[in-house]
Amino acid sequence: MGTARVVFDRWEGRYATRMRAVRSSAVRDLFAAASRPDVISFSGGMPDVARVPASAVAQATHETAYDEGTVALQYGSSEGRPQLRQTIVELMAETGVRVQLDDIVVTAGAQQGLDLLAKIFLDPGDVVITEGPTYVGALQAFSAYQPTILSIEMDADGMRMDLLEEELRRLGPRGAKFIYTIPNFQNPAGVTLTPERRRRLIELSQEYDIPLVEDDPYGRLRFEGGHVKPLRALDEDVIYLGTFSKIFAPGLRLGWMIAPRPIRAKVLLAKQAADLCGSAFAQVTAERYFGGTKWRKTLQNLTAAYSERRDAMLAALAEHFPSEAHWTMPSGGFFVWVTLPSFFDATTMLAEAVERGVTFTPGDAFYADGRGRNSMRLAFCYAEPERIHEGIARLAEVIEDRMALYRAFIAAGAISGEVCA
């Protein structure tokens, strides 16, 4: 039986100053309570792990315990087990990236890779360039090291290279510590960087001597269209972050980093300080899971489910959302990015949405500077298609309600803006 008991943080007031920058926004804190069961959540980007067959996981862990128990229960090397890195070499080859065993460091999810890169590269005040909007977890990982984060706008083809070039010209050579990008089915925007722009991005990175960090959690979750080669396939200096979270399960906390040797050496030092080595047990389990061929079928099932949910969300958006709203058309991944008119404040709308039983992530979460208030990220990966439809209908009502107010103000000439009748 549930309870309403509360537990407190009695250490408040004793934390380091650097943690202040990592705090989430006041408004999002206000809605920390949105965990009622009747609420349909489009907030979290959670993989549908229920579709990973328990039998395959049981088989892999069984083998781990019985065949390699003494290794799996022991400390391992900081770079990760060679067998798993061999698996990663093969996975990378399938996406068009040729790497050696030694190019790879196994990390606790790609998230650890972000933290380690920030740790080895960033002093307070250093510049980092990201897409705008960008992954909130990257902003969190970077913020702890107190950099200045500059974001570059995207369109349907990904990060705009003209704007990036403008920024780079202003900053000059080595004017930023790195450029962080999620080229495939970007989180949160859902867009994919085109092959032409990938080439241009590499050129600019070389011209201005600024390393590229390529974060690629969703690359294999493509619903349609041809595979686009990762940036790492075009330039060996690109730092690549991969993860097992979306092709297997986030519960294992397994990811990897591919980086030039000197960077890898620094990353390994930082990783030793962080956790000595990754979980050997998780690594052996993943080796065994990817040892067979069943995982391919499972990944196909997962991708098909996400694709169906993407369809459900796009259809529901087209049916219910007002004509003033625009959204991206992801051909893979987890997210749709909705942009409302510039006068619209999606952040304050969240209060009303929670009351009506639907949540989303307001756009300003994905910017370091408070922009994005007129936008929102909708995750289609987790809810079943019928729930998606119901949730979008509820959200549309809330938007319509707010929009009616904005329209009245615009019609009266009280605020400026253009609305459709």
């Binding site: 309403a4 008991r5 206000l30 304050t348 107010l405 019609a411 009280a414």
Partner: protein, 316 residues
């Protein structure tokens, strides 16, 4: 003394975080005092938990919607559990600032001129076409814009010109269905807490508030160093006496019991302009009621204890 006291906090209100801070402080104070204290969040499990835990009284450390508007009070009446603070009627009346202000006008208590507009008045009746009339009716800029039913300065804005009035109204209306536009009164901001005692309601020393930004909003209220407080207030005896008299009068008019806090601005001519009455004042480290109590020589545990004892007296 082993009475079991459930401290209600959190909930779904926009002031959830503030309430959790208030609740935490009250909870540990009650524990130190020897009560069997219970910290409860307001969730769909609340009633079930209250029924199984059977507390002797409830301390309402909730702020905002459901906690301060009569909802929780009505529920606790139904469950037959005594609770701290004002009852259903006083809570419902004070929750709507416009009603409190009407009550002021009817009783010759100064309150700044205002208008109240609902979202429906804008959506269904074209109220936005009349914004040009606002300065004529309410007064010249600057004006204060705020949601009629909300605490902690959420959605509060000082509007300096006609250009930003609409924007401020839209923001206020995302925090509730009714917005107030009120004449901005320059002067000393004062919070006057009133506690019920054996000889009836008695005011604590007024607390003077100096927000560095000039606007005592959510940010100023809950960020250390952004606001200075003076308790007792740096005002003459006459002004203090008048302010205190009004706070006690409003406490009685609204039918408050145990505690209330009236916020007002004392203009340069000494007129105390009433802004609102709070029936569930904050109990955080930067809150005004504990500060006033401290100035009167009443420590936080003693304050919490007196409120709990008053509720326990109502135990049938």
């Amino acid at each position: 003394m082993t009475e079991k006291i459930a401290v209600l906090m959190g909930g779904r209100s926009l002031e959830r975080e503030v309430s959790l801070k208030s609740g935490e402080r009250v909870f540990s104070a009650l524990q130190d005092l020897g009560y069997r204290a219970l910290a409860l969040d307001v969730t769909p499990e609340l009633v079930r938990t209250l029924r199984s835990e059977r507390p002797d009284a409830v301390y309402i450390a909730l702020h905002g919607k459901y906690g301060e508007d009569g909802t929780i009070q009505e529920l606790l009446e139904f469950l037959g559990i005594p609770y701290t603070g004002p009852g259903v009627t006083a809570s419902s009346l004070a929750w709507d600032k416009a009603i409190t202000k009407r009550l002021c006008v009817e009783n010759d208590i100064p309150t700044p001129t205002w208008i109240a507009l609902t979202a429906d008045a804008f959506k269904e009746m074209g109220a936005a076409t009349a914004l040009d009339l606002v300065p004529g009716v309410v007064g010249e800029f600057p004006l204060a814009v705020k949601p009629a039913e909300q605490g902690s300065g959420l959605g509060l804005a000082k509007v300096d010109s006609a250009d930003t009035l609409a924007e401020a109204l839209l923001a206020a209306l995302s925090y509730g269905d009714k917005a107030l536009v009120e004449k901005w009164v320059e002067g000393t901001v004062l919070a006057v807490s009133v506690l019920d005692g054996p000889e009836g309601p008695k005011a604590l020393p007024p607390v003077e508030i100096v927000a560095h930004s000039g606007l005592f909003d959510f940010q100023a209220m809950y960020t250390r160093g952004e606001t200075d407080y003076f308790a007792p207030a740096r005002l003459g005896e006459d002004a203090i006496e008048r302010a205190v008299g009004i706070a006690v009068q409003l406490h009685t008019l609204l039918g408050c019991r145990d505690v209330s806090r009236t916020d007002m601005v004392i203009a340069d001519d000494g007129t105390p302009w009433v802004l609102e009455v709070n029936t569930s004042p904050g109990m955080t480290e930067t809150s005004l009621l504990p500060m006033a109590a401290e100035a009167a020589g009443i420590g936080f545990p003693e304050l919490a204890d007196s409120l709990v004892k008053a509720a326990l007296l109502r135990l049938k």
